[in-house]
Symmetry: C2
Subunit: 175 residues, 2 copies
């Protein structure tokens, strides 16, 4: 299990800090719901820190409260299967990283450039904005597609390229 805790360390690479990562690992890898106190004890961190960490994980929608009837304590479980969790991480990171960037870009694009140099710079900004927007739109569409189809698509891999060509040919042929 100590080796397993080591995995939590990796969480620091995924948008939250080490402790929060360890808390998440503990919850995900436990089949049974686990209490805040148990988490604090297992990881040897303060009760306060644990509370903060759990709050953060809930704000990421990775962990949810699980009330056991008759028990006074609050227990926690993962908010879904691995696929769901991965999706949530992606969504939240998009919200924290891409969305603010997009909104800043839009702001910057509002005021018109005074100098020639500024004109050039704005063109670049616009390019970045458009790229970012296309990508987010695409990812949203893919997500809406549901896991099953996405899996097919992924299995297909670069083969998608082939399918595209094929489709084009048909279109031309039919005209």
């Amino acid at each position: 299990m100590s080796a397993v805790m080591h995995f939590g360390e990796m969480g620091s690479r995924w948008g939250f800090n080490r402790t929060v990562g360890q808390i998440l690992a503990l919850i995900v890898l436990n089949d049974k719901p686990i209490s805040a106190q148990e988490i604090a004890d297992t990881l040897s961190i303060s009760r306060g820190n644990t509370s903060m960490g759990l709050k953060e994980l809930q704000s990421w929608r990775l962990v949810k409260l699980h009330i056991i009837p008759g028990e006074r304590k609050e227990f926690f479980v993962a908010a879904g299967d691995i696929w769901t969790l991965a999706n949530r991480v992606l969504e939240e990171r998009k919200k924290r990283e891409i969305d603010p960037t997009l909104s800043l870009l839009r702001d910057l694009l509002l005021d018109s450039p005074s100098t020639d140099k500024d004109k050039l710079a704005q063109d670049k900004l616009c390019e970045i904005h458009d790229l970012l927007e296309s990508v987010t739109r695409w990812s949203e569409e893919l997500q809406r597609m549901g896991p099953d189809k996405l899996l097919t698509l992924m299995k297909l891999g670069a083969g998608v390229g082939k399918v595209l060509e094929f489709k084009d040919k048909l279109k031309i042929g039919n005209k």
Copy 2:
């Protein structure tokens, strides 16, 4: 321009710190190559910090040296167009975030579980590993496809789903 510098702040959301982000913004938005000294002056940061930042940006392959004949100083320019830069950021982040996670997972999956509880945990780890691996393989394949096709694919959006169905029908029909 000061408003434009503000954009660099956003860099902190993208894997490097504020200053490095500002340096990158400055380089990308300047059409002309720019010297380390100029960067330090414009951003009011120390020469040492500038040097470190440039080194980091070069390690991310976002910025490259541009030697002007007859000049003693070293100048810097963006390592490519926006698309290239975005790709590089993605690649480098994958290298820094996903690859170490994958290698840790592989290590953890090597030793066989002693208890029943450990067995359960390992199953989860394996699931995570497989998901991560599929996704990276897919992204590599997409990348190898080149920007042009990728753009088509993105434009198609959720429509890919339709194409997939279509293809399936054909296969069945041919059998």
